[in-house]
């Protein structure tokens, strides 16, 4: 850790101001107060999310969503409850929504896989044993690629390539910009192509 950052962390952990005092200082534009409050809550929110989603990528996404929601709505905080319970409420809602979205995605992928299996079964009748082997390798490669990315990136890929939704509609559904959706699609598509046919990956 750079010396300046280490000093800042030590000062941050020594600051005895209350949450409300820190909030007032942040509203006045005081960066050290922001750092103290962030350090005070980061570990709590991170541990809370990690204990529920059980992996680092999803925990980071939930932590980012929680803190973004906290600071976007900080003007609305009037001190009628403690900042602790307010932040906890946001963390709980955010993590629960995250888990719900992941479950919906899982169910949607399962349904899409069932449809694919049904379609494939009728097509399989005309397949040679080599065709069947290729198809199986391809399906396993796509599954592996989609499970290596975060749930929202996998969902974006499914919405675009399995459900044929336009970019704008996906962006609206996911509450992300069109550029973020395009960038995610590009990244996941590369992974899928790399998994299915490494020789083609360079051309994507």
């Amino acid at each position: 850790m750079p010396r300046a950052a280490a000093v800042a962390v030590r000062q941050s952990s020594r600051d005895t101001r209350s949450d409300v005092e820190l909030l007032a200082a942040i509203r006045a534009g005081e960066a050290p107060a922001f750092n103290v409050l962030y350090d005070r809550y980061f570990q709590r929110v991170y541990h809370f999310a990690y204990a529920r989603v059980h992996n680092r990528a999803d925990a980071e996404e939930a932590v980012q969503e929680t803190f973004t929601a906290v600071y976007r709505s900080i003007d609305a905080f009037r001190g009628q409850s403690s900042l602790l319970s307010w932040i906890y409420g946001i963390a709980k809602n955010t993590v629960n929504n995250h888990i719900r979205r992941a479950r919906v995605l899982e169910q949607r992928v399962e349904r899409a896989e069932d449809d694919l299996v049904r379609d494939a079964e009728s097509a399989l009748e005309s397949f040679t044993p080599e065709d069947r082997l290729d198809l199986r390798r391809c399906t396993e490669a796509i599954d592996a690629a989609l499970s290596s990315v975060t749930p929202w990136q996998a969902e974006v890929f499914v919405l675009r390539h399995f459900e044929d939704l336009p970019i704008q509609e996906i962006a609206d559904r996911m509450h992300r910009s069109n550029d973020a959706i395009r960038s995610s699609l590009y990244r996941v598509k590369r992974l899928v192509v790399q998994a299915v046919d490494p020789e083609l990956a360079g051309a994507v």
Binding site: N35, E60, F67, A76, G89
Partner: protein, 54 residues
């Protein structure tokens, strides 16, 4: 939840939330610092907007 109305949770839940201070969880320090910078930017943008000089 965008204002400070009480949400549906108990004191035990809050206690568990606070215990996060004592537990060792594998945090990526780079992620923590990236998020810190992004949030501080967000705060500064909001302060500028509130002052009306955005």
């Amino acid at each position: 939840m965008t204002d400070d109305t009480m949400a549906d949770f108990t004191i035990e839940e809050l206690r568990e939330f606070l215990q996060g201070d004592l537990l060792d969880v594998p945090v990526d320090p780079a992620f923590k610092e990236r998020l810190r910078q992004r949030l501080w930017q967000l705060v500064q943008e909001q302060l500028r907007r509130n002052r009306g000089d955005a």
